[in-house]
Symmetry: C2
Subunit: 226 residues, 2 copies
């Protein structure tokens, strides 16, 4: 009897999960080495659906594309919608549709990266599937993991979804232009996130008004020139 | 070689997933029979984090608790925060923390239901883990599955997350008091959802202003008296 479902398979399930994760880590390590050799810096953006990942990318591309050659990998359960939005900005983009799966894995990124071959870029943004849980477990080989929570989602999110914050280097509090309309406690969110990860860098930002964007861009430019 | 990860385990993984899902369905069927015998109607609320499930429950409890005895099961990856909010309303509540797992399963609901024993209620709300993907695959034995998307998340969500809409009977578009501040296309969202599920009942609603709440309450009262 297993604690999970009264059947014999929980142990097998855990073993398989471990295998999948360790296999993913091997591929992620290869991705990282591959990116390093090519001199490409990679960001993995993780958030719930609708936290503003694509809007942030659009604003970031507008500000950076004439300075730093860049490309984007878009992850979604279905549709090419996000890739279409990015394509309009004139940068190379590959859409990975996971067919309902709740995260990107390192092999999908490896394959998408090969589809980008022939394009010259020094900076790669990976927009993960909209999900604040599953993507946290899967290293993609990125240099910087960025977690986003938007003001409408509520300031309690770091406490409820700690794994996403534990492994991220940057926490963007997005849509801060909406602070007047929501009962969102910036200080609470900061404290909750720092309790999980004292090293995490926290930036409040609005892709709409541009507030906080400068610091975000500086952070990326610093990464690229490092 | 498997298409997923270049290893031999994809077949095993699929088999195990199938086993877990079919085992879950057995337990869900038992839950459903159990609820039916006790004369309890059950709703399963599914959405991304921060779509307003708990706020909707608070407004619903305020409106119904003197008419219909009710109880709540709260699902979260971590913390008792949502259960505490519901407890303040004076209704029985059990918090299930999944330890990071991305959905509730039927066995967790079965166990939580037993923890509610000794309380008299005719209506049970299950607030699933904040995730628009994984919970869709797990029947909990509910009578009504309700999917929520809030205005700040964007009107494209049914296209990107079709599984959540395919199996739901009700689609609540929440936080409609925010429509003036967002580029959210109500008609687009309706059309996208109906394309996936022509039978889905769509209700725009605001827990804050009470707009649309009456129709939602009528729907629940209809279910309870059926």
């Amino acid at each position: 009897m297993c604690e999970h479902c009264g059947c014999q398979d929980r142990k097998k399930e855990i073993e398989l999960e471990r295998h999948i994760l360790s296999h993913n880590e091997e591929i992620a390590a290869r991705n990282r080495e591959h990116f390093r050799k090519k001199g490409i810096k990679v960001l993995n953006l993780i958030s719930a659906p609708g936290s503003g990942k694509t809007s942030l990318l659009e604003a970031t591309i507008d500000a950076l594309k004439d300075k730093i050659p860049l490309a984007v990998i878009e992850g979604d359960p279905e549709t090419e919608r996000d890739a279409e939005r990015i394509r309009k900005k004139g940068v190379p983009v590959v859409q990975v549709t996971t067919g309902g799966a709740c995260h990107l894995d390192a092999l999908q990124v490896h394959r998408a990266f090969h589809q980008l071959e022939g394009n010259h870029f020094k900076l790669l943004f990976i927009e993960n599937v909209g999900n604040l849980l599953c993507p946290s477990a899967f290293d993609l080989g990125e240099d910087l993991r960025v977690v986003l929570v938007s003001v409408p989602e509520g300031s309690d999110k770091p406490a409820k979804y700690p794994a996403a914050f534990f492994k991220a280097q940057v926490f963007l509090i997005t849509k801060i232009d909406l602070l007047p309309y929501f009962d969102f406690d910036l200080e609470e969110t900061r404290e909750l996130a720092l309790k999980i990860n004292p090293q995490i860098k926290i930036l409040p930002i609005s892709s709409k008004t541009g507030e906080g964007l400068e610091e975000w861009l500086k952070l990326i430019e610093g990464l690229v020139s490092a």
